[in-house]
């Protein structure tokens, strides 16, 4: 069962995404801060991370940069209210696999996760 780490301090988004990912058959962990996200990513080795950018304390860009510098290779999808081209370019430069701007359609997030997750073994 693929493991998904959801990092978002907006409860409505965290609860919705948790429910959706569970319906998709994934095991889900939710973190509300960048620091907690680092801990979960390092200890649980999720197969994909849904990462908010505007987090209290350590932000999503910093979390992504740290994880990539440590060799974390799983796909990371940035979810953010920052929609400027410069923000999107920064996200990709830091190693994001996808960048989804809030308010997003949940169908898009589900499709993005399906696209990025490694296929199930036969």
């Amino acid at each position: 069962m693929p493991r998904i780490l959801i990092v978002d301090d907006e409860p409505a988004i965290a609860v919705s995404l948790r429910f959706l990912m569970e319906q998709e058959g994934h095991a889900v962990t939710v973190a509300e801060t960048g620091e907690a996200a680092l801990t979960h990513a390092r200890t649980e080795a999720p197969d994909l991370v849904l990462l908010d950018v505007m987090l209290p304390g350590l932000g999503g860009f910093e979390v992504l940069e740290l994880l990539r510098s440590e060799g974390f290779a799983a796909p990371v999808v940035l979810l953010t209210a920052k929609g400027r081209e410069a923000d999107i370019a920064r996200g990709h430069a830091l190693g994001a696999d996808a960048y989804v701007t809030k308010p997003f359609a949940i169908a898009d997030v589900v499709a993005t996760v399906r696209r990025l997750l490694p296929p199930d073994p036969p």
């Binding site: 409505a12 429910f19 505007m54 929609g83 949940i106």
Partner: protein, 220 residues
């Protein structure tokens, strides 16, 4: 507000709106996609929608209040004779330990006396608190400078820079000192020396191209 300031404010507003709006949209779409979901999850999502809608309302109300304050800070400037402006400023600093110089240059300045008076009063109070001056003098000097000069320690320019964000809640504008300075096309400078000063340089009316508006009444 300058164009870069407006762009920054708009970007901040968009980002502040996107957060709660994103939560509302995600929750509603989840509820619609799974109408038979567990009742406790559905109830939690409904509560979160309500919470995020309130958060969104607060963001919009704060933005509306800020826009209204900015609009009021942009009350039209008028051509005001310097002596009349000096009298308006004298009324604005009434009750403070500020000596107002009687002389004023024979020119007209572009100003909105109520908002300018509120800003000058706030600056005088800030100087009193920061420098504890033995004597604080307010003068209108040519060519269009409102000067607060005092006997006491100087105030660092960085500190004066922070004062630009000082709110003026009791004025019609409910703006900041900086809003008033910018609206007047003015510059605020701090000088040191034996008698440190804050100098607010206004635009003489005849240099502003003239807007046809004239007034001999500074209006309080």
């Amino acid at each position: 507000m300058t164009a870069p300031d407006a762009e920054r404010a708009l970007t901040a507003l968009i980002e502040a709106v996107r957060g709660p709006l994103g939560g509302i949209r995600a929750a509603i779409e989840t509820l619609n996609r799974y109408p038979d979901m567990d009742a406790s999850v559905a109830a939690q999502l409904h509560a979160l929608i309500e919470e995020q809608a309130l958060a969104l309302s607060r963001v919009v109300e704060a933005a509306a209040a800020e826009a209204e304050a900015a609009r009021r800070a942009r009350r039209p400037l008028r051509s005001v004779p310097a002596p009349a402006l000096r009298d308006a400023l004298r009324r604005a600093v009434a009750g403070l330990d500020v000596e107002v110089v009687r002389e004023a240059p024979p020119l007209r300045l572009r100003a909105d006396p109520p908002t300018l008076g509120a800003a000058v009063r706030a600056l005088a109070e800030l100087v009193e608190n920061a420098a504890r001056p033995k004597r604080l003098v307010l003068a209108l000097e040519g060519p269009g400078s409102v000067v607060l000069r005092w006997e006491g320690p100087a105030v660092r320019p960085e500190r004066v820079g922070r004062w630009l964000g000082h709110p003026l809640p009791e004025t019609p504008s409910a703006a900041t000192i900086g809003d008033v300075v910018v609206h007047h096309g003015a510059a605020l400078a701090a000088t040191a020396g034996d008698t440190p000063a804050l100098v607010l340089t206004l635009t003489p009316a005849d240099e502003a191209g003239g807007d046809g508006a004239t007034s001999s009444d500074a209006g309080a």
